[in-house]
């Protein structure tokens, strides 16, 4: 039996961040990864999607410049070559993580780990024990229970398509579904998104979501809300998605209807932990499971299911393991949807405060770049402090970092007034939106 101070199961954003933090603090760490380091985010999530969206954005820019007459012809592009280009990027990033873990002297074991008891896990037939354990096993795409769901591919398979679907149907209008819709629409697919709820991104600022929907619709993406999928049939190579409001024909159907915590094969029961009904592992504010020295972080605990949430949770869990008691604070959690244009938000929406808004049309930088969008600032009616921001438009995910600082520090309008923002920049719109809040 090999003995360590900390065992981490899962080498995704939560797991490797925790491993690095603990190893750098002097802990003897062993990290188990059954697939490749970097988890969903790096291998089949955020990073490859962002790569595709970057290419998609470039195509959109070329189209608009061709329509402007700046370019005489838009030329041709190859979807296959675009898809081929993502492998080196993933390879570069995963090898980067491996080398960071090596230099931090954290041991990485490739294989599926499962609990033997609360302090011991088994992997590849060998036993490993540690005083503390972090479960960071992430999540996988949900398979919906309708007839013909086997014809649907998940986001991971969609990232491996080698042929551009002419007609693409995406089940699920969440972050993943919308990002894929944007990318494939820009690549030239005729995209339909089906959402069961009565609106997409229901928890985000309504006006911002409306604006996003208008932008996506203008690009030819069909978004159908309050529509339930009944079945998927395959007739002569064409898939027919039967829904509560008619049929949709497609040559590819992507299911992006949510994700479920990965706990299968972990043998949690051996550690004395029972997963919740939805599959997640319950934790307290210190990220401890009901067994005090076993922690859980990332998608496996549910909640935001974002890589940067996992990073934050990893820091908290490791801090607690190191004896510096720390509570999880997700009040300031930036949320980004990398559509074209993207939407990014932090804090609360205008349902919980006074709203100010500023349109990109009033911003020189946006006008010069030919970008449209809008910034929504929310301030508390009583404290008059910044409590939320939503940006829809180019560079929203970059701008939300500054907005997060303002929310974290609780900027008042005087604070915003005192802030000098570089000109020309899209970030000027944050200040303008904040100063336009009327109480």
């Amino acid at each position: 039996m090999k003995s360590f101070e900390l065992i981490i199961i899962g080498g995704g954003p939560g797991g490797y961040t925790a491993a690095l933090a603990a190893a750098r603090a002097g802990k003897r760490v062993c990290l188990f990864e059954k697939d490749s380091l970097g988890g969903t985010c790096l291998n089949v999530g955020c990073i490859p999607t962002k790569y595709l969206l970057d290419r998609a954005n470039a195509l959109e820019k070329i189209r608009s410049m061709t329509e402007e007459g700046v370019l005489r012809g838009a030329g041709e592009y190859s979807f296959k070559r675009v898809m081929r280009g993502k492998a080196p990027i993933i390879e570069k990033l995963t090898s980067g993580i491996a080398s960071m873990l090596r230099s931090a002297k954290a041991e990485v074991v490739r294989g599926t780990a499962s609990f033997k008891n609360a302090n011991t896990v088994v992997c590849n037939g060998e036993e490993y024990s540690a005083g503390d354990v972090i479960i960071a096993t992430g999540s996988s795409a949900i398979k919906l229970p309708f007839p013909g769901s086997e014809y649907c591919i998940d986001s991971t398979a969609a990232l491996s398509l080698t042929k551009l679907p002419k007609k693409l149907c995406i089940i699920g209008g969440g972050v993943i579904g919308l990002e894929f819709a944007s990318a494939f629409s820009a690549f030239g697919s005729d995209v339909t998104v089906i959402e069961m709820m009565d609106s997409i991104l229901p928890r985000e600022e309504k006006s911002a979501v409306d604006l996003l929907v208008r932008s996506l619709t203008a690009k030819g993406i069909k978004i159908k809300c309050s529509v339930k999928v009944e079945s998927v049939e395959k007739i002569e190579g064409i898939y027919t998605v039967r829904t509560s409001s008619g049929n949709i024909d497609a040559d590819c159907v992507i299911s992006a209807a949510g994700r479920r915590a990965n706990t299968e094969g972990l043998a949690l029961e051996n550690a004395g932990i029972t997963p919740e009904k939805n599959g997640t592992v319950a934790v307290n504010e210190y990220l401890e499971t009901k067994i005090p020295h076993i922690y859980a972080i990332g998608d496996v605990i549910g909640g935001y299911m974002l890589a940067h949430a996992a990073y934050a949770e990893a820091e908290v869990a490791v801090s607690n393991i190191l004896g510096n008691k720390k509570e999880l604070d997700h009040r300031i959690m930036p949320r980004c949807v990398y559509t074209i244009p993207p939407l990014a938000a932090v804090g609360v929406t205008s349902e919980n405060g006074a709203l100010g808004r500023f349109d990109y049309r009033g911003n020189g930088f946006a006008v010069a770049e030919g970008e449209s969008g809008c910034v929504f600032a929310v301030m508390d009616r009583e404290t008059k402090r910044t409590v939320g921001f939503t940006v829809v438009g180019a560079a929203a995910p970059e701008m939300i970092a500054a907005a997060s600082i303002a929310v974290e520090r609780g900027y008042t309008q005087d604070d915003w007034r005192a802030l000098t923002v570089a000109h020309p920049s899209l970030s000027e719109t944050l200040r303008e939106a904040a100063l336009s809040v009327k109480f």
């Binding site: 195509l59 189209r63 041709e76 190859s78 551009l164």
Partner: protein, 379 residues
């Protein structure tokens, strides 16, 4: 000494060309000016001429190769160079590049419907077989000369001087009837260009009693309701200087006289023929001036057509309630005139950038007063 022939820059828009024809082989004797090969850009076929005398010692490209500006095409040397080249051991073939381009599904970036080029005016037929220098092709296209009908003076390819010579030799066509003097396309193009400058407008309409006009028409039957409104507008323009101004990108050059344009629905497009200083003319004189302009336009004489602050559109011949006239930049206002039972209706369109809403309303209100009570025009 071996001289290398490289692909010249093909033009301002492209540096990529395809080798369409190799005119020489290794060992051929060439002199200055001989055509060595032809390359085709997206615009034209370019002959690549030899700038040296000697023998072709090596050829580095094949037909249908894509070449960039600067690509080495061939080498020319003297007899010794040729001998040396012949004796040079054959180079090992370059390893085959793994090229799976065939599998690549290159598709147009623009969607099909959008990528279709806008219908362009029919270009002058350019014969690919008849070789011509790009500037010769351009000139031929500009002069409307078919390259197929030109014989190259050097027996090889057509130069610009050949096109110019051909242009001089072409007999002038028989004098066309006056109506055909203005080529349709040119006039249409000019009009289209003018309409490209979108003028944001607002509209105000008035319906006036035609009593005063009817009385006038009894005495002067040549005066139409449109002439009558033009007279009223010319007087109104003296009261409202903005109706004598052109909107020249924010500047408002003002003319002293009230120039009123009348939209003439000509066959090749609507033009506005201008009655100058109409405020000095009576209704009869305005009617006369309009008639004269109309005759000229019909003959293709556009001397009376030019930008004008105010234009009037005659829709009195149609059973419509109102006609919203378009404002053509740099004009500032336009008026559409329609008739009904006992009434003359005028719809005014005003350039919102230079005419305020209240001013537009005031103009229309005063116009109605003038039309119904012409004596006010004298005050």
């Amino acid at each position: 000494m071996v001289k290398k022939v490289v692909m010249p820059a093909a033009g301002q828009t492209t540096d990529i060309a395809t080798v369409t024809k190799l005119m020489v082989s290794v060992g051929d004797s060439v002199k200055k000016g001989d055509v060595l090969l032809e390359v085709e850009t997206d615009k034209a076929v370019l002959p690549i001429e030899s700038f040296a005398r000697g023998f072709v010692t090596e050829i580095y490209v094949n037909e249908f190769d894509q070449v960039d500006a600067g690509t080495l095409l061939l080498a020319i040397g003297d007899a010794a160079d040729l001998e040396a080249a012949k004796n040079k051991p054959a180079e090992a073939p370059a390893p085959a590049v793994e090229d799976d381009d065939d599998e690549d599904d290159f598709v147009p970036v623009m969607p099909k419907s959008e990528s279709a080029p806008a219908p362009a005016p029919a270009p002058v037929k350019v014969s690919v077989s008849g070789k011509a220098m790009p500037n010769a092709k351009k000139l031929a296209s500009e002069l409307g000369i078919d390259l197929d009908k030109i014989m190259p003076s050097n027996g090889e390819f057509i130069k610009a001087c050949d096109v110019r010579a051909a242009a001089e030799n072409i007999k002038k066509p028989e004098i066309a009837p006056a109506e055909d003097v203005i080529p349709t396309a040119r006039m249409r193009n000019t009009l289209s260009r003018r309409w490209e400058a979108f003028v944001p407008t607002f509209g105000v309409s008035v319906t006036c009693s035609d009593e005063a006009y009817s009385k006038l028409a009894e005495k002067s039957p040549a005066v139409s309701p449109v002439h009558y409104v033009m007279m009223a507008l010319s007087r109104l323009a003296q009261r409202y200087p903005i109706l004598r101004a052109l909107n020249d990108g924010g500047k408002l050059p003002l003319s002293e006289g009230s120039d009123i344009g009348l939209a003439v629905f000509a066959e090749n497009g609507t033009v506005t023929s201008v009655v100058e200083s109409a405020e000095k003319l009576g209704a009869n004189a305005i009617a006369e001036a309009c008639e004269k302009n109309l005759t000229l336009v019909a003959k293709g004489d556009l001397s009376s057509v030019r930008p004008c602050p105010v234009s009037v559109y005659d829709a009195t011949g149609y059973k419509v309630d109102s006609f919203t006239a378009p404002v053509c930049a740099p004009g500032v206002a336009a008026f559409g005139i329609t008739l009904g039972e006992g009434r003359v209706a005028v719809s005014g369109s005003f350039d919102i950038r230079v005419i305020e809403g209240n001013v537009g309303a005031s103009i229309m209100s005063d116009l109605r007063d003038f039309i119904e009570n012409p004596v006010l025009m004298l005050i």
